[in-house]
Every structure is written in structure tokens, then in C-alpha cells.
């Protein structure tokens, strides 16, 4: 609230009390949130330093911090972050684009949709990670294979979600386009697709977190760079500090990416609440 705004006038005593209480609870929630993290970190650090826990296996906040600082000064930090982020972004963007295109084709052809349904169910139920080794043999051990694994993980879910959205488009609106003499192309471009931007964005929200799974598994299997690679490498050489540091960075990255999509969603749909 701006300081130029006159103090809320004519606020009833009940409202004033309610506002005061709300402010207090809000503050309490915030303090507790930060408090939990602080207590956790401090306890961890103290236990590690006093030898209550073995810092070689459990690491400690200061050791994690030191690893991150090291990676930063050697210039490696952003290389690894870059590789992993690139793979994740490519994976979920392609997954979404392909998923939407395939959903569109299935919407256009109810025949195709009925024919492919059992195959989609099988592919949807299959743990896609099992396909990882196959892709690596086919495509080669590298970034490409990791991106393909990532795409496979989110693809079927995206197809299902988006197709569902397409199918449940308001019949009245489709009828309207038909009364103007519109064909399937008009129905799709004028009504079905734009009505489902929200569905597509929300399937993006799901596939963004799944794509991290794909990327990390992919990197576990093949890579020579990336956060997943550092995690595996760290565990092999028994450097738990490195493992924990990368898990921490991964958590931050994935959260940022998710929030970024939430932000895009909020600006795209600012004006249109049905």
C-alpha cells in the first residue's frame, strides 16, 4: 500500500480487528517458514562440526557452500547448469509441441483416435525410463539421447491431457462456427485450439517437472556433463558434498522453471476469466 494513500477511512472496528489479526498470522507464517529452514541448517552444521553426524557421509551446509563456490570459481558451475537446463527445456518444449500436434491429429480423425487408443494406453503405462538404454543404442550416448528420453516421458501425458481438452471444447461454440459455414479447420483454429491454451499451459506445468526426471535419468545413464552427471560422479568417488550441492542447485532450477511457467500463465490469461 502506498504511503500517499490516505489511511483507510471509515473502516469499521470489526474490520480493523480482522485486518490486524490477518497481518499477525501472515507474519507468523512467514517467520515460521524461514525459521524452520534456519533451524534445520544450523542444526545440521552444528551436528556436523561437533561430530554428532559424520560430515563425510552427511556433508554440511558450509561444505556444500564451499563446493558451489569452487564450481563457480573454476567456471564449471554454469557449464553444468547450462547443459542440464538446455536438455530439460528442449525436452519439455518438444514434448509439448509434439504432444499438441499429435493430439490435434487425433482430434481431427476420430478413426485414428479409436485405432491408436490401446497403443497409447500401453505406452502411457510403460515406465518410459526403461526405454532409455534403447535410445542410447539407437541415437548414441549424448545430449540427443537425453532429450529424446525426456520427450518420451512427457509426451504421452501431454497427448492425453491436450486431447482431453480438445474433446471437451464447448459444443455450442463449435456449432456456432458451423452455422457461419465453417469447416473443421475453422473449428480447430478459431475455437478448439485457442480455448485450450490454458490446458496446454497446465500440461506444460506437469511436463516441466517430469522433464527433470528424464534429464537426470538420462544423465545418470550417459552423460559427461550436467548436474545429473555431477551427482553420479560425486557418488562414485564418494564425494557427498558434490552430490548434495548439485541436488540443491537442481531443486532451485526446477522451482525457477516452474515459477516461470506460472508467471507466463498469469500474463497470458490476465483478461479472460470465464
Amino acid at each position: 500500500m502506498s504511503i500517499f494513500k490516505p489511511k483507510e477511512q471509515g473502516v469499521s472496528p470489526e474490520r480493523a480487528l480482522w485486518l490486524k489479526n490477518k497481518k499477525r498470522t501472515d507474519a507468523l507464517v512467514l517467520i515460521t517458514k524461514i525459521g524452520i529452514l534456519a533451524v534445520f541448517l544450523i542444526l545440521w552444521e552444528v551436528c556436523a562440526n561437533t561430530g554428532i553426524i559424520d560430515s563425510f557421509i552427511m556433508s554440511s551446509p558450509s561444505r556444500i557452500w564451499a563446493v558451489i563456490a569452487d564450481l563457480y570459481t573454476s567456471g564449471e558451475l554454469f557449464v553444468h547448469i547450462g547443459v542440464t537446463t538446455y536438455e530439460a527445456v528442449m525436452g519439455f518444449l518438444w514434448g509439448t509441441v509434439l504432444g499438441t500436434v499429435i493430439a490435434a491429429l487425433l482430434w481431427l480423425s476420430p478413426f485414428l483416435c479409436r485405432v491408436l487408443e490401446p497403443y497409447l494406453v500401453v505406452l502411457g503405462s510403460l515406465p518410459k525410463i526403461a526405454l532409455g538404454p534403447i535410445f542410447i543404442v539407437w541415437i548414441g550416448a549424448g545430449t540427443k539421447a537425453i532429450i529424446v528420453i525426456t520427450i518420451t516421458i512427457s509426451l504421452i501425458v501431454t497427448i492425453m491431457e491436450v486431447l482431453n481438452g480438445f474433446m471437451s471444447t464447448d459444443e455450442d461454440k463449435i456449432k456456432l462456427v458451423r452455422t457461419f459455414g465453417g469447416n473443421k479447420y475453422h473449428i480447430f483454429t478459431k475455437v478448439v485450439l485457442p480455448s485450450n491454451f490454458r490446458t496446454i499451459i497446465s500440461s506444460l506445468k506437469i511436463s516441466v517437472s517430469m522433464s527433470w526426471v528424464g534429464v537426470i535419468v538420462g544423465e545418470f545413464l550417459v552423460s559427461r556433463a550436467g548436474l545429473g552427471y555431477l551427482i553420479v560422479y560425486g557418488s562414485q568417488v564418494f564425494q557427498l558434498d558434490l552430490v548434495m550441492a548439485n541436488v540443491f542447485i537442481l531443486g532451485l532450477l526446477a522451482t525457477f522453471m516452474y515459477l516461470f511457467i506460472v508467471w507466463i500463465e498469469s500474463i497470458l490469461f490476465k483478461n479472460q476469466n470465464e
Partner: protein, 256 residues
């Protein structure tokens, strides 16, 4: 016969589906004269929407023919304006973009037609709301925008399928009055489906009452009112209103 704008000849309709056959319409014939406002009323589920969809050319009747301005609609594309139950405005388009939807689909988004649309929006009180989104408008305004969206393609007839039933009662009275006056001012022919008797009596020159499914024509009423009462809201106050209402009411099969 060439004077009639709509001619329905012996329409039959049977729906086919996995669980069987539904006979929706059985031998319906009627005509509509230019600038006439005709209501079709009948018990729910009797086949009213089906009849309207057939006139609109959206579904093919099992038997029978529909002519609009003398042209058989199964062979010719006719320009009709259809108003659905909900306004069906697209939430991601502004009011103005919604109004141009039909023009875009028909490839007629010319400068002239766009100006006509803007003119209609201004004339009917939506000038200041052209660039707003549907969610920012009241129910009545949205209905008006939906009507303008159908008028801008200069349709030969307007078809209204329970166009006001999504509105609450008060708004509904005002909006039906409003829409009726726009239709009259623009000199359009309209066929309206409803199950609200007073709505039909207050708006129409002619009322076609349908039987239970399969729909057949049970009776046709022509409510007459004095000149100065010939607006939906004032018709409702006329002493003859009740009498016309009862005549229609008696012909509708109601079961509780």
C-alpha cells in the same frame, strides 16, 4: 409461395445411435414470411432444437426439404444467423473480435463489413465496450454482442434457440425486449425456439406449438395486440396477454 422466406416441407427426423433409433420429428411443414417473428414452442425434449438445426442446415433431415428464399438448403449455402442458448462468446477474444468471427470464417472481413459491425456495436450501446473481453460485460450486454455477431454477416434469417434461458428472470425480460427491438429495427426475420410460453406470446407474430416427441405441429396461434402494445414488455401488461397465454398453455402437453 415465393414470398415465403422459409419453407419447411414434410420434415422427418430419426436419430441413429448404438442404443437404437430416436424419432425426433414427424412430418412438420410450415412457412415463415419476411420480417415475421415466429416462435416454436413445445415440451422439453420434443425436438425443437433438432428442427432449428435442420433449418440451419447443420443436420440433414431423414426426409423432407427446407427452402430459404426459394433455395433448397441441401444444395445451396445459405447465410443464416444462429443465436445459441448461451451467448457462446469466445473468452479469449474482445467483443469486437467476437463480432468479426463470422466474417473471418466466411472470408468477408472487408473494411466495409467491419465498419458495419462497429456501427452496430455503437448503435446498440456497446461502443465503449468493443475492446473489452466478454467476462467484463453484463449478461444482457453479452447477449446483445452475440446478436450483433450474427447480424454483421447480414443473414437471411435469424434462428434463436432458447437464446435467453441462461439469464435470470429480470434480465431475461429486459434482454428479450431489447433483442426483439433490434431485430425489428434491422428488419430481420426470426424463428425462435423456446419453452417459455410468456416469452413466445410477448415476442411473436405466430406461435407454432409442437406435440411431445416425435414432434408434430399441434396448433398455430397468432396473438394480436393493439399497435401501441406491440413491444414485448408492454404486451405483457395487455389484458389480452393472459388469454393468449392460456390458449397456448392448453395445447402444450405437460406431464409432471
Amino acid at each position: 409461395m415465393s414470398k415465403d422466406i422459409v419453407v419447411c416441407q414434410n420434415i422427418f427426423m430419426k436419430y441413429q445411435s448404438a442404443d437404437g433409433e430416436t424419432e425426433a420429428i414427424k412430418d412438420i411443414s410450415f412457412t415463415v414470411k419476411p420480417k415475421e417473428f415466429v416462435s416454436i414452442i413445445g415440451p422439453s425434449g420434443c425436438g425443437k432444437s433438432t428442427l432449428l438445426s435442420i433449418i440451419a442446415g447443420l443436420i440433414k433431415p431423414t426426409r423432407g426439404k427446407v427452402f430459404i428464399n426459394g433455395a433448397d438448403i441441401s444444395e445451396n449455402k445459405v447465410n443464416i444467423g444462429y443465436m445459441p442458448q448461451k451467448d457462446s462468446l469466445l473468452p479469449f477474444r474482445t467483443i469486437r473480435q467476437n463480432v468479426f468471427l463470422g466474417l473471418e470464417i466466411q472470408g468477408k472481413k472487408t473494411k466495409e463489413n467491419m465498419e458495419y459491425g462497429d456501427m452496430l456495436l455503437k448503435t446498440y450501446g456497446l461502443g465503449d465496450f468493443m475492446n473489452k473481453y466478454p467476462s467484463q460485460l453484463s449478461g444482457g450486454m453479452r447477449q446483445r454482442a452475440a446478436l450483433i455477431r450474427t447480424l454483421v454477416i447480414r443473414p437471411e434469417i435469424l434462428l434463436l434457440d432458447e437464446a435467453f434461458s441462461a439469464l435470470d428472470y429480470q434480465t431475461r425480460l429486459a434482454v428479450s425486449n431489447d433483442i426483439h427491438s433490434i431485430i425489428k429495427k434491422e428488419g430481420k426475420t426470426a424463428v425462435m425456439v423456446t419453452h417459455d410460453i410468456s416469452e413466445a406470446v410477448s415476442m411473436s407474430e405466430r406461435i407454432i406449438v409442437l406435440t411431445n416427441r416425435p414432434a408434430e405441429i399441434k396448433s398455430i396461434h397468432e396473438p394480436q395486440f393493439d399497435e401501441e402494445y406491440d413491444v414485448p414488455l408492454t404486451r405483457r401488461n395487455h389484458e389480452a396477454f393472459r388469454e393468449h397465454f392460456n390458449k397456448v398453455w392448453r395445447d402444450i402437453d405437460v406431464h409432471i
